[in-house]
Subunit: 218 residues, 4 copies
């Protein structure tokens, strides 16, 4: 009778907004099948669509019963890897998603609270990643597009499952994308993959988050 | 027997972070005693202190029983007037407040939900202010310092008072402050005062907010 | 036999790039006819056209024989008033000018040197303007569009006229423009007018510039 | 009788400004000894000192008699590799150099012109690097610190040597540096090394630069 190896689910997204790649998928797929702290990593790609992204995520949660879930998304224009603190219950799409939908000021979940905080020990992750030389920051907003939608939906799905930790990480453009966006910062997905490997290890081993100021005055 | 004129409470803050002025107070004090859409404006200055700021706010709410409350704060480094969408239940102070306190990852209200959305018709305000030529935007985060603390505490205080609308507006440095911060944007408090007058008028007259995309992809 | 009052020439530009106003013209026209330090201010509006802008400037120089010339231009996206240090001998237009011309890597003056430094006491102006509460900075580049074209052409015209000082100042969008450019900083032209009045006074009264570090590491 | 292999000189800098590494040196040293388009690459590290940096550079020029010289420097805060267009004849140090000197508004060369343009085919380099997926841009200013000092001194040294091309490239922080500068963009030196290899190849093979708009309006 074999004991099942516990699983970590990492998700990336399909390309959107006119891009032909999404570094979030490139970064997480490179960890698919790896073992981190005794957990097997499974990577899944989510569509950039309100609704369908969450259906795909929920299906993966049911199928894999992961111990940890980190969803990763592209934040074109941001300079550092950002550990998201909070997901809010609103869809407000500046551009249409990949299925053509553009919800404005609609709740992600009609019966959900205004927000969920990340379950991840984001301050311990911040400290460990910086110490290891990765450019990383805490972010107070995941926006109001499909990334926040997935983040909120994830935390809503996990609201009664305290033994499973979930959270969201935003990453910069890949260099090849920034080559088409004058002035935009970038980070190679290979660097992001290394950072995520460490982030997963911290999330699996740190029970209580550390006390470390990383807020903003506004 | 005279009927009391309904009141609008506008709050600004004391200087903090080494500044000798706070444009939020300069901007709102100029409206003190004015009448907007049949309401008398009362301006109050709050201390930049966790706890004490909320005590002062609650006292003003009890005393004035305002129909509308807009708290205004300085966001040094931001370029436009920002209408805040959401307050989150966390204090995470990068710098100490004016009383020397620096809470890290503590809740604003131990028994409160993760977040409250603004009661203000922020999209209608956005449209009206832009139409009138004011540089204004929707913001998805009010930070984690005293501004967010006051915003969250305000919405918590109003959570069972549906007839009173509350919200928060962040404003740029005044030009004289930016003169000491190389490269920082600014806006004269006199311009902010005009913008706030219009913002109050919209908040007093628009029942249902308009549908207008003003989110961010991240 | 009357002695002629010496003149200061201030130029602004016509709107360009899809804007329907140009704050540089709004700011300088408000000083037209004023007297500053015994000099009469004359304001002129230049077209946003390679070539024609310089013809108009040279005509004004011939006609007015000013003691001081400050050309002012809009720098949409910059947050502070910038005192330009240097004009370079190249036109490289990212967008077409108002006459449809888009020169790429052509010299402003075929027989001119690679660059001219401003004649203005920019460090003394920086110090005085900051002291007076205006957000101001030194800029190391005036770009490669019509503003730099006029700045270079001005300094070329004055190269053998040591008694006449010339220079260039870039200013932010007006607030009403920034209302149409999400996230862009702005400054009211009325504030710019006050700053220019002081800048002219300093340029007319300071013989030797002060020593004040205001460079950039890159 | 052996014919000497022609040489390409690449320079990087020592750490400065409190950093313990300088990605410009990490990026160029990796190419030392390589052959690109029939040329042998020699990498040299320059001190971050006014004067001494130029002495070291001139000594390398005398010793190596290179066919091409590209000096590379760190531009902390910039997001993309920037191909510098112009060097100006001024030292204006915001911080002291590594020897404690802080010149303000002094010429690099007392007898030199106001500026020199780069000899490199920067537009052809821009096109080739972007096509290859590197985030790269044209910059109109190399600042007023040691980088501009070296760039100006290089072009001054080469002013009568038309067969030798010289120029300057600024690069972002390395990720490990950005880990200590919240919000700062970065690019791994390994990526910069690949980009420089291609940049050198273009500079060695393109005789006449291409026509490609890459200026700024201000």
């Amino acid at each position: 009778m074999s004991k099942r190896i516990p699983t970590v689910l990492l998700t990336g997204f399909a390309p959107f907004g006119g891009e032909d790649e999404n570094p979030s998928w490139d970064a997480v797929r490179a960890l698919d099948g790896d073992t981190i702290e005794g957990h097997r990593v499974v990577a899944r790609r989510l569509p950039v669509e309100f609704g369908a992204s969450l259906s795909a995520l929920r299906q993966a949660l049911d199928e894999l019963e992961p111990a940890l879930v980190i969803c990763v998304g592209q934040a074109g224009g941001r300079a550092q890897i950002s550990l998201e603190r909070v997901a809010i219950n609103v869809d407000d799409a500046r551009i249409a998603d990949n299925a053509g939908a553009q919800p404005i000021d609609e709740p992600v979940c009609g019966d959900g609270p205004a927000a969920y905080f990340s379950d991840l020990p984001i301050k311990a992750m911040l400290a460990a990643l910086r110490e290891a030389g990765f450019p990383v920051e805490i972010s107070q907003t995941a926006g109001t597009f499909v990334c926040n939608h997935v983040f909120y939906g994830l935390m809503h799905a996990l609201r009664n499952v305290p033994q499973v930790r979930g959270g969201f990480v935003h990453i910069p453009y890949a260099p090849a994308q920034a080559a088409r966006h004058p002035g935009a910062p970038s980070l190679p997905p290979t660097v992001v993959t290394q950072a995520l490997r460490l982030a997963v290890a911290v999330a699996l081993t740190v029970d209580h988050d550390v006390r470390l100021a990383a807020g903003t005055t506004h």
